[in-house]
């Protein structure tokens, strides 16, 4: 029994070493020790090339801009959510988090379906006014990239800030008002300083997400815009300049670790309020307040739902024909398989990922619970971009089809662990001992006590793993073979091809993927209540 248990415990560490540390080590070696000896010339070339500096500048710049816009919208919304009571508030807050589980390809396709050249708005305007070209030409522009980034991160910032805010004592503001503060001074002297920890960690998180943006940039930005992430892919897959890609990856890994360090620091500073009291919500009184609420609802409606609705509408242009043609391969050269087969591939990978991730996540959660220090180790994949991971696999395990579910597992594992760990930590300490004294063997204890109490966490974790696998794009693009694409890859390839049929199929596939993810989202929200 002892040996079996020990090997159970070693399993997650082994997985981590082989499928995370080893590929990263390969990148490290290729960039710094290309011939077995230290060679910094690759980096020197990188640091002095103007193209590289431009890429880095763009990566940082777009991330900073995205962060600024996201927070600028989320902060007033948080105020509305914390202060006022209005119909459908809870539902709205829950639904606003939907983007969190939506794959980048779906988001990108949805925005292009709304305001792209062939999008709902442009086609409508062309038909109505008989225009020769689309009036809104923001496809392949920074604007569209920023909008998509805000779409992704708005709800995360909103939830972080309003959650923090709601737990602050309402007396602080009352006291300030009694002391004579009002209007902008209340914001400047009281609200912003009090919310600073939440604002800072939300900003760090949004910056991290947008810094590693890949799918949104390649689909919506086209060739003109490249983040580090896109450039790594470009160098490795299109130009076959592996040392260059490795050097870029190392920069990416370094920046991400630094950013994650900042984020964890900021998060620790979020103070725990011992005198926890909740802010009181009230009905709006003035017209200004009603307008604020209306604007917030409108913002969430436009930002979160309009592209998704546009995606569905645009995919149904011409009825269900796009859907019905998913089992056909219109132009044999574009895809080696029909879209329907890609759905099968995705489902298969997702099922394998779910099984792997839940088993490993459970074992890891037990391991972390005993040795807290390992927590950081298993969170590292979260700080490593999917493209970097994909590149590492390309270097170490090229052409292997089974690495796709493995890399999906690695990406999903931190989320799965985070779903199981709280439940595990909340297990009352004496339950398993009580069961043992009552005659339950260790296996019986686990089956009869632990498992039923961890059930919710396991369901949430499994759903996360499934969703991550269905939508994963960056690493899959590196690793999928032409004859075994997944749904996101097929969408990406179809979008890159001209022609209404290709576009229609891309939209139909996106809708299918969106529905799968929305169902997952519903399961997660219903099972965990709060995440």
């Amino acid at each position: 029994m002892g040996l079996a248990r020990r090997s159970f415990r070693l399993l997650p560490l082994l997985f981590w070493a082989v499928f995370f540390a080893y590929p990263l080590w390969a990148i490290f070696r290729l960039s710094l020790f290309p011939d077995g000896r230290f060679d910094g010339s690759g980096f020197l070339n990188l640091a002095t090339s103007s193209y590289y500096l431009e890429t880095l500048g763009f990566t940082v710049g777009q991330a900073a801009l995205s962060t600024l816009i996201t927070l600028g919208l989320a902060l007033p919304s948080a105020y509305v959510f914390v202060r006022f009571r209005f119909m459908g508030k809870k539902l709205l807050l829950a639904l606003s988090t939907l983007p969190f589980v939506l794959p980048t390809v779906v988001v990108a396709t949805a925005w292009s379906a709304l305001i792209g050249d062939q999008g709902v708005i442009n086609t409508a305007l062309i038909t109505i006014f008989g225009l020769a070209s689309p009036p809104f030409q923001i496809e392949r522009s920074l604007t569209l990239i920023l909008i998509a980034h805000v779409f992704y991160n708005y709800a995360i910032a909103l939830r972080l800030i309003s959650g923090f805010w709601a737990n602050q004592s309402p007396h602080l503001e009352d006291a300030a008002q009694v002391l004579g503060a009002h209007g902008w001074r209340l914001w400047w002297e009281i609200r912003l300083p009090l919310l600073w920890p939440a604002i800072a960690s939300a900003a760090a998180l949004v910056f991290i997400f947008t810094f590693t943006s890949f799918g949104v940039i390649v689909i919506l930005g086209g060739l003109r815009y490249a983040t580090l992430e896109v450039e790594i892919f470009n160098q490795a897959r299109n130009l076959f300049n592996l040392p260059m890609a490795a050097a870029l990856s190392l920069v990416q890994i370094g920046s991400m670790f630094a950013l994650m360090l900042v984020y964890t620091r900021l998060q620790k500073r979020t103070p725990i309020d011992l005198f926890r009291s909740a802010q009181l919500t009230r009905s709006p009184k003035t017209w200004t307040e009603r307008t604020m609420i209306a604007l917030t609802i409108g913002l969430i409606g436009i930002l979160v739902f309009s592209p998704l609705i546009a995606l569905v509408i645009r995919s149904l242009q011409g009825g269900f024909s796009a859907y019905l043609r998913l089992n056909q391969n219109p132009r044999g050269s574009v895809l080696f398989v029909t879209p329907l087969e890609a759905i099968g591939n995705s489902l298969m990978f997702a099922v394998i990922t779910t099984i792997l991730a839940v088993i490993l996540g459970l074992l890891t959660a037990y391991l972390i619970q005993r040795r807290g220090i390992l927590d950081a180790l298993f969170m590292l994949p979260l700080a490593t971009s999917a493209v970097t991971l994909g590149f590492g696999y390309l270097l170490t395990m090229p052409g292997e089809i089974w690495v796709i579910p493995v890399v999906h597992t690695l990406v999903a594992l931190p989320l799965v662990i985070r779903s199981i760990l709280p439940a595990l930590r909340n297990l009352p300490p004496h339950l398993s001992e009580a069961a043992q004294v009552l005659g339950a063997t260790p296996w019986q204890v686990w089956r009869a006590v632990d498992l039923p109490l961890l059930r919710r966490g396991l369901i949430v974790g499994a759903t996360f793993a499934f969703t991550v696998s269905m939508g994963e794009f960056g690493a899959s693009l590196f690793l999928a073979r032409p004859d075994t694409p997944t749904i996101p890859i097929v969408i990406f390839r179809l979008l890159g091809q001209p022609g209404a049929t290709n576009y229609g199929q891309a939209l139909a596939m996106s809708v299918i993927l969106m529905i799968i993810c929305a169902i997952s989202f519903w399961i997660i929200e219903h099972t965990s209540g709060d995440f």
Partner: protein, 331 residues
């Protein structure tokens, strides 16, 4: 009969139990009384099999159970927090142990009715344990421990998580239930009232050993050591300055003692006012305690003594007192 011989257990080189011996007779309820950190819970966990021994042996009816895993010992353990399974209802909690042993369904149902009747929770079968009151939870926990007919029942601070009003009543009930079930039991507690109420014998744990084990009244009337007297909250401990030929010299006079002593306990229950005999003391404090007055008096040596009186005395008065029981205490 449970026997513990020379039990040793350390945590991080810190000895918790030191060559501890204990014998518990069949059908007896033994209470282990000790301050927090005295090792009493560790001892209970060692007996249950949840904690391993460094050395020593424990045996039940002459058979060593030292290497028997916890789930094969057939013991019952009631935890301080009761540790009821939140995902199971009352009946499922109570029957957990029988289910693990593969008892037949008919026997399970029969036993459930019996045990629930014993703890006074008939009709609670389908209730969720999360909806129960503190006292009800305690009884479910007790029923769960009793259902598989354990060879030994262990109770960790059985009243620990209940409020004061409930305690008194439930203490007597718990004792009655255990006696009715005819089970040998060991309870640990830091609360002497609890120990006095539940136990046939009380063992006081100090420095990882059982310093004295006796019936509740013997323990209270004749504590063996200074520590025990203090732990039981007994006042009137005075240091022995010199002991020779059965005579102990103290700051307030000399006393005959039957064994060597570091200190003497002038048992508060035996202090009597006496106009013609005894030592002279000054009344320093006097306060009302409901059914009596508590007096604090001072001897000229500076030593203060406490005793109870049916009537109050004016502060500053000089009175003479005698002691019926002078108990020699070891260090």
């Amino acid at each position: 009969m449970l026997q513990l011989n020379g039990i040793n257990r350390s945590f991080d080189d810190q000895p918790i139990l030191q060559s501890l011996d204990l014998t518990v007779n069949d059908g007896e309820i033994v209470c282990l009384l000790g301050a927090s950190g005295s090792g009493k819970t560790t001892l209970l966990r060692v007996i249950a099999g949840l904690e391993t021994l460094d050395s020593g042996d424990l045996s039940l009816d002459g058979v060593s159970i030292r290497d028997l895993p916890v789930y094969r010992r057939d013991f019952g353990l009631m935890f301080q927090d009761f540790a009821l399974f939140p995902h199971l209802n009352v009946a499922q909690n109570v029957l957990f142990g029988l289910k693990m042993r593969g008892t037949s369904h008919t026997l399970q149902t029969q036993r459930l009715t019996e045990v629930l009747a014993l703890v006074g929770l008939s009709g609670f079968e389908r209730r969720s344990v999360t909806e129960l009151s503190g006292g009800e939870r305690q009884r479910v926990a007790l029923a769960r421990s009793l259902a598989p007919r354990p060879r030994l029942l262990l109770l960790d601070e059985p009243m620990g998580s209940l409020d004061a009003a409930l305690r008194e009543r439930l203490m007597i009930e718990v004792r009655d239930i255990i006696k009715a079930a005819g089970i040998t039991a060991i309870a640990v507690t830091h609360d002497q009232q609890e120990a006095f109420t539940i136990a046939d014998r009380i063992g006081v744990i100090h420095h990882g050993q059982i310093e004295q084990i006796d019936t509740p009244s013997a323990l209270y009337q004749r504590p063996k050591t200074t520590y025990i007297a203090q732990f039981l909250g007994l006042h009137n401990l005075i240091p022995v300055l010199e002991a020779q030929d059965g005579i102990a010299t103290t700051p307030i006079g000399s006393f005959v003692i039957e064994r060597p002593a570091q200190a003497l306990l002038l048992h508060p229950d035996s202090v009597k006012m006496n106009p013609t005999d005894g030592i002279t003391v000054i009344v320093r404090r006097c306060w009302f305690r409901g059914d009596h007055y508590q007096l604090q008096v001072e001897h000229q040596s500076g030593i203060t003594l406490m005793f109870r009186q049916p009537v109050p005395l004016p502060l500053g008065d000089a009175v003479r007192i005698t002691f019926d029981r002078v108990i020699p205490l070891e260090a």
